[in-house]
Symmetry: C2
Subunit: 156 residues, 2 copies
């Protein structure tokens, strides 16, 4: 089961490596990670998505996170009502005759072209995981050239 | 000067901690970090924003990154034409009489309310760093309660 975990940490160097290290030491691969400042520039928020093969090990990791001196709080959104979003940038190459079809498709997903040149476009889209999956699946037929994603963020 | 660096890495556990460790070992704090899968699920993309006090040290870090066995490529977007975007979720508490003013403000930034209940709203917005800064500055007068950001992603 995929878990989305938010960790508030002191914004100091080394903290990120220590938190990431806790997961890798247990053989847990992080699917996605978003780290940025919060309202308080002294505090950073890490949003971590992990595939938990064993819920007990994840509980142990959460306990260990809480014990780290620079960790302020740990929230597992899996058990909480929350909003989640991810941002993607997708570079596609399309045929001229596909333009109308592409525009219609992007409108459906509220996605937009942020840079376009000849038959190449950079598309920006925001959504929940399932929406992004459908978007990428649909864009595949136009020819996806490059993809950058932010990883998920969440708010209770 | 702030640098936005994109690092393509093999999607294995431990890589993230190693890359983050390279920066912290040099006393470089990562301002934001976004890690996610690419088109190839075996490869992850890390978008790292760092404040470089000394450009020479940053060059050394980039060289060291390139030497890591799981690093495929390193791109510093500072010297390249690129598109950059960040996603934020902001929870605000506003007064009923501020509703019209809030709607007008959000429209200007193409931001939208993704969850609303009484006088609390979760707002989703995407933009370049300067736009996000202006948005947050403007929202401050409504009473910002919570903020989660993805960190920047970039595409050449």
């Amino acid at each position: 089961m995929k878990h989305t975990i938010s960790v508030l940490v002191e914004n100091k160097f080394g903290v990120l490596a220590r938190v990431a290290g806790l997961f890798s030491a247990r053989g847990y691969n992080i699917s996605s990670l978003a780290v940025s400042e919060t309202l308080d520039p002294q505090i950073s928020c890490m949003t971590i998505v992990v595939q938990a093969e064993d819920e007990k090990i994840l509980e142990q990791i959460e306990k260990q996170l809480n014990k780290l001196i620079d960790v302020i709080s740990v929230t597992d959104f899996t058990k909480k009502e929350h909003v989640e979003r991810e941002l993607v940038l997708v570079k596609i190459n399309y045929l001229s005759k596909q333009k109308a079809q592409l525009d219609k498709f992007l409108k459906k997903f509220l996605a937009k072209v942020v840079h376009g040149k000849e038959n190449t476009a950079i598309i920006e889209a925001v959504g929940e995981q399932e929406q992004i999956r459908q978007l990428l699946e649909g864009l595949a037929k136009f020819g996806v050239h490059e993809l950058v994603r932010t990883g998920k963020i969440a708010m209770a």
